[in-house]
Subunit: 359 residues, 2 copies
Amino acid sequence: MKRREFITGLGAASVLAGAGVAGPAQARPEFKWKMVTTWPKNFPGLGTGANHLAELIGAMSDGRLQVRVFGAGELVPAFEVFDAVSRGTAQMGHGASYYWKGKSEAAQFFSAVPFGLTAQEMNGWLYYGGGMELWEELYARFNLVPTAAGNTGVQMAGWFNKEIRSVADLKGLKMRIPGLGGEVLARAGGTPVNLPGGELYTALQSGTIDATEFVGPYNDLAFGLHKAAKYCYYPGWHEPGTTLEAMINRNALEALPEDLQVIVRNACKVANLDMLSELTARNHAALHELVTRHKVQVLPLPEDVLKRLRALSEEVVAEIAEKDAFSRKVYESFRGFRDQVQEWHAVSELAYLTARSLA
Amino acid sequence: MKRREFITGLGAASVLAGAGVAGPAQARPEFKWKMVTTWPKNFPGLGTGANHLAELIGAMSDGRLQVRVFGAGELVPAFEVFDAVSRGTAQMGHGASYYWKGKSEAAQFFSAVPFGLTAQEMNGWLYYGGGMELWEELYARFNLVPTAAGNTGVQMAGWFNKEIRSVADLKGLKMRIPGLGGEVLARAGGTPVNLPGGELYTALQSGTIDATEFVGPYNDLAFGLHKAAKYCYYPGWHEPGTTLEAMINRNALEALPEDLQVIVRNACKVANLDMLSELTARNHAALHELVTRHKVQVLPLPEDVLKRLRALSEEVVAEIAEKDAFSRKVYESFRGFRDQVQEWHAVSELAYLTARSLA
C-alpha cells in the first residue's frame, strides 16, 4: 500500500447530513488506487466495464476508496498489467487470464478455452464449483487476488473472406486467432496469426489474412469489420463465454478495512453481471443492424467443421494438463464441471432455446 | 423508517483499529430492517438466497444495516409480503413478481412468462433494455422499489405419471401448474390445478393429479418428487428463467444514507448472480443423481406438443397487453426485446450449445 492517504471525511459527513441523520463530522480513511487495464481506454464493453467497476467501488464505499482507471499503455503496456499489479505499481488490474499463460498454462481455464463453458456455466464453476479457489491458488503465487469482473458471452466465429463449406476449407486458411483457438486451427491445417485489434481491418482488406475472430456484433460493428469481410460466421467455438478479470494486489487488498474488502469483491461480481447483461442487449441490436442495414451474410460453420474443431480442441485442452500438476488439477475440475453441466443444459438452456425457435 | 436505531459504532471503530488505521471511535447510525419472504424458511436456493442477500448487506455496510429474514408465515403469510412491505410493516420483501398479478397483470413480465426470456436475457432486458424502469414505474404506485435478486434459470417441465406422446395427451391432463402456464394448459385441453408445494407429493402419489411442475432437479430431488412420478419432462417452457425479486419500502430506502442505498441495490445484483450460479452448479449434480442413482426417466416434450404450447402461450401472453395501457407498454418492451435477442442467441448461445453437443 504505497499510495494510501488519509483525509478528513467531509464528503461522508455531508452525505449523512443530506439524509437527515445527525452525526459528528468524522475522520475517515481514504484510499486511492490505480487500475491498469489491457484495453484501449473506454473500449466498448470491456474498457467501459473497467470504468464501471471503478465507479461502483467509489459509490459503494462512499468515496473512501477511489479507483482511477488507466487504458492500455497509459501507465503500463497491456501485457505488463499482471506484473505491474503483482509488484504493486498499481493496486488493481483489469484484463483476461488467458493473457498470462506465460505464468501458467492453467491460467487459460479462468477466461475461456475452446468448447469450454458458457458465461452462466463459468459463473457456476467459479463461484460454486471450485473454480475460484483454484484461481486464487494460482494467483497467490504472484501476490495477487483474482476476481471475475465481466463476461462477453458467446463470441462470433469471426469475419471471413473465404467461404467455409467443409473441413477442407480450413486448410491454408490464414486467420488471426490467438491462443488455444489458434493451436486448434493449426492442427486443422490452417495458419493462425496474431495481430493487434487495430490492424485487423487493413489486414483483412489487403488480403494479408483471410479471416479474423474478434468479439461479437457490438464490438465488431464499432470496428467496421463488416466492411472488410464478406462473411460473418458463428458460433464462437473458441470463446464460448470469456470471463474478464479484475486482479488485486494482495497487500493493497489486505490493507483495507474488512468492509471495503467485501465491497471490492462484490463490486467485481456486479461488474461481472453488468457486462454480460449490457453485451446481451447491445449485441442483439448490433446484429440486427449488421443484417438489416449492412446486409451482412451471417452463416453457420458446417457441422463437420464444428465436429473436427471440437475433436481437435479436446486434444489441445487436454494437453494443458500435461504441463504440470497444478494444470492437471485445474483441467480435471473444469472438465468434470463441463461434462456434467452439459448434461443439465442439454435438458434446460439448450432444450428451451431449441423449443422457442421451432417454427 | 420506524425501526431505526442509533448506537455507538464500536463495531466500526474496532474494524478500523483491526486494519491498523488510526481513527476516533465514531457515532454511526445503525439501521435494522426486516425482510419478509414468500419462501419457507431456508428453502434451498430461494429461501437461502434471501438469507445470503441479508448477509451481503450486513457485510458490505460494516454492520450499519442489519436485515433479519422471516420465512413465509413467520411475520406475514407468503402472499401478504407485497402489502406488508408496501405499508412498511417490513422494510424489505423477497418473492417473485408474478405472485402480484392481482395488483397488475403486467407484474408477471418481471418474473417469468411462458416462452419468454432466459436468465441471461432477463438480465439484459431489465438492466439494459428498459425493463427495470418499467418495473420501477409499476411498483412506485405501491410505494415500493423493485430489484432483481435471484434467478432459477430454465426450470423443468415437471413430473408426470402420464406419458406425453402428442398434443392429444394434454387433453384431460390434471396438472398442478399455476399462473399463465396453467392458462396455456387449459387452452390445450388440460385441467390446471393450484396446490401448495407441500401437498404435491401426496397429490401425485394418490392420483389426485397426473402431473406437477416445480422448479428444477436440485429443489425437486429435495422434495422427493421422483418417488411419486414415473417421468420427468423437459424443458420448462412455462418458466425459462424466473427472476426472483427483492422489493424495498421506498421510505425505508430513502431514509438510508446514499452509500447504503447503493449497497442495498448492488447487494441485490450480487444475490441475483449468485443464485443462478449456485443453481447451475447444484442442478447439474442433482440431475446426475436423479438419473444415475434413482433411475429417473428424463424425457423431452415432443416437438408438436412444444409447438402447440408455444402458439397458445403467444396468445395468452399477448392478452395481458389488452388489460390496460401500462400492461401494453410492458408487453411491447418485453416482446421487442425477446424477438431480437432470440435472433442473437440463435447464432450465439443456441448455436454454441448445439455445436458442443454434436456427437
